[in-house]
Symmetry: C2
Subunit: 307 residues, 2 copies
Amino acid sequence: MPAYVVGHKIPDSDSICSAIALSYLKNAIGEECVPARLGELSPETLFILDKFGFEQPELKLSYAGESLYIVDHSDRVQGPDDIDDATILGIIDHHKLGDITTSTPLECWIRPVGCTNTIIKMMYDFHGVEIPANIAGAMMCAILSDTVIFKSPTCTTADIKCVEALAEIAGIEDPQALGMEMFKVKSAVEGTPIRDLVLRDFKDFDMSGNKVGIGQLEVIDLAIFDEMKDDLHADLAALKEEGGRHSVMLLLTDIMKEGSEILVVSDDDDLTAKAYGKATTEGRVWIDGIMSRKKQVVPPLQDSFAG
Amino acid sequence: MPAYVVGHKIPDSDSICSAIALSYLKNAIGEECVPARLGELSPETLFILDKFGFEQPELKLSYAGESLYIVDHSDRVQGPDDIDDATILGIIDHHKLGDITTSTPLECWIRPVGCTNTIIKMMYDFHGVEIPANIAGAMMCAILSDTVIFKSPTCTTADIKCVEALAEIAGIEDPQALGMEMFKVKSAVEGTPIRDLVLRDFKDFDMSGNKVGIGQLEVIDLAIFDEMKDDLHADLAALKEEGGRHSVMLLLTDIMKEGSEILVVSDDDDLTAKAYGKATTEGRVWIDGIMSRKKQVVPPLQDSFAG
């Protein structure tokens, strides 16, 4: 029976490309693995799969009785709902350590780098397995996506070197140009239902017992949201109620201006003032330099809930 | 300010040798680190430190405001009491994934192998840092201890290969003979206060909300305990009350006969029958083949608590 490799709910490019890349590696070393996904793919991820000739991983929500590798998360709320009834063989991740626990020893490769695929490249190197060109291409795109083409504060030297090495394997001369092409696909929001936009890259967190949902949209120019903000705000309020959340935030990140406007609906009017030192006006606040949910948005928020 | 490297409470040889070996590696790559310990050392660990010329790591119980690497555990109950007020930079471990969480990304090297030091050897290789002979010797002894000279079911090919490589670096011709010498030191229990024996290698676990303490003594011949079992049993009962524990178990492991007698004091008379299919008689039961707390004792017990 094969093991599954699965990323987080509302999968992003890193979750999907990690699942594909890790499955190939595990198969190469004699451990049968199949990539899977917990939800629908974003236009960006579809662009990557199409460009490098991959099918979508199997949509699989239930893992009871199965064995699996978890990629790109270690928080229970982001993983399969029935994860307690599965055997976790390993976790490959680059986030804070979440609340997933196991009853048996496992394999964890967790590093403070910009992208899970940077770690999977280390695993290929450790096992001495050659990376096929199309897998290298997909891994490279995931790193360019997660690091916002090296602009995110989460980006490390390891990520940049990894992209260089993968670009060579994939035969791609200008990785950053491909990155911009990818972000243009990501920036196309016209015609997309509001709820789909809000959920495109949305994660729930448990913060001292409070459920907090944080979405992020990274685009080349925030102006595309100008006509949409009231609708986005209304949908955040709905999403907060539906999920019994304490707060919902949506980061509208301008990757060229290198900052984010945060839309907030919260039980606590002072949420952003406490966490980031900047209050909202009509539920909105622009903060210069904020590019990373993981590194800049979640930790101060978690600290402010904790104490 | 240096970071600390610290193993679990009631430190064993793996926790101490890991702290020393990882600190050296981190210093070698420019990250200032100091080994520390959460308690007194066992005769076995003192034997290793003496043999390879190391001082005892600093006894340090409080880490508030400090940064630290956690080795040989990932369960909160086994770590520093004020770990919530510290910054965890990384975890190197070979146990099931415990309930430690962080608010920022970190470095985790967790592998299903027999000993933390086997993983630390991988880290030296990854960074291309040469292991000094005395550190190699201490790492090797920790692996021989944790794998019960390769007899434990937790022992993997990686552990055996690692001992071979470390023995060569340390210039030790017969690692297994050194292992037996070490276990003879470990087997010397005469004159040791009962409580010291019970706590020599004792770990608390949270099992579905119940505190369960499990100690283990590995010796060359169980006969040395013949006159002691009533006293041990009485002390387990006292320990159970003092700590508000649901159960306390002490594994008396015969490394030559390759099995363990388990002494049990529990709120549940059927504890071992449920978990291991074998009931106790007067709070004692011998189980053939049980050598490993981590692999053979904890998981079935945890499952039986989970329901």
